[in-house]
Symmetry: C2
Subunit: 229 residues, 2 copies
Amino acid sequence: MTNPSLYPRPALTVDCVVFGLDQQGLQVLLIQRDVPPFAGEWALPGGFVRLDESLDAAARRELSEETGVRIEYLEQLYTFGAVDRDPRERVVTVAYYALVKLASHAPVAATDARAAQWFPIGSTPKVAFDHEQILTAALERLRGKLRRKPVGFDLLPPRFSLRQLQQLYEQVLGRELDKRNFRKKILGMDLLVETDERESGVAHRAARLYRFDVKKYQRLCLQGFHFEV
Amino acid sequence: MTNPSLYPRPALTVDCVVFGLDQQGLQVLLIQRDVPPFAGEWALPGGFVRLDESLDAAARRELSEETGVRIEYLEQLYTFGAVDRDPRERVVTVAYYALVKLASHAPVAATDARAAQWFPIGSTPKVAFDHEQILTAALERLRGKLRRKPVGFDLLPPRFSLRQLQQLYEQVLGRELDKRNFRKKILGMDLLVETDERESGVAHRAARLYRFDVKKYQRLCLQGFHFEV
């Protein structure tokens, strides 16, 4: 078909899965819908793509409008297009995801959102549309990525203890890891540099602090690796 | 916005990157466009998504209509939505990709395609729209996947030599691999079972044939691994 304007077309939206991480663990940002369908129900922040903006820009704009959370880089996850996924009509959605420090991103609801709030993974409310499926896919992608790339290291302070690093992995993977095995593997990657500093202001024995070897970190980011714990 | 039908919306298409593999190496399936824009130019097979079909179904239908090639499983690659990627108007495309045995998929052009043909990677003609970018992304994804999953093993006969397996990797990766290093790594994965059979009808010394350990193969498919050669 030569002229696309002659044919009916699906509506196109973007939806954002923003994971936030803090000492309490992995959380996800949801909004409470203020408009039908599913008014009053929780859902991923998102909305319709405008003709004059890229998909990435639409995702950032909707996230900012509905939650006040601004994120420079969202990664495209997958496009969901089941014929009956929206009760209004055919709507295809391009899903995005990101992992951020929760503390730096306090949500403020606006536009189509009655409320915006972080929910711990595992204690999320029922969500509208096929957003449960999107959330599950984002979580799988994030966990897969953690095994292949030194992702999430941006979430730590410049100097950190091995315990902090292990907590980050445990929170994203959602399970406890064996301390000895974890340390052996992570140190074996030759990615960390031991510093002369130690933790301060902790109740337990002050642990040694490490930093990333920036060059090796960047090389591993490009190459990927396999980290099975 | 509550009622999506009140707002102008982008058109939505699917495009398919089908890689074919044979002894000559990795090739890609292109069509020559019979309609404007870019009439007479080569492009990825694809077209507009209908209201009553899923994205996957649209991709399989367009591929079949334009090239006669039928593929059960295409994997979603990425959705491309740059504002100016189509000269007609705003068109967003969901790209899919697959890797098949070239010999089993002879193309026959029809509908919007004047011709359909396999082209060796590295000798592809100039392609329309942003299809060069899509093709590059698909190739990167395929190569990344080869390092993480025992993908492509479906492309070999049930019993195969280590030389055949190495050729498969070399053809997808687009470079020669060190024989000794490759064998050490692939055998070290404990994925292959040595059989009592040897090659027949070859000019060189008949090599031993191997098969996959199906259970380990399936487990590795789920788990993923890291295979750096």
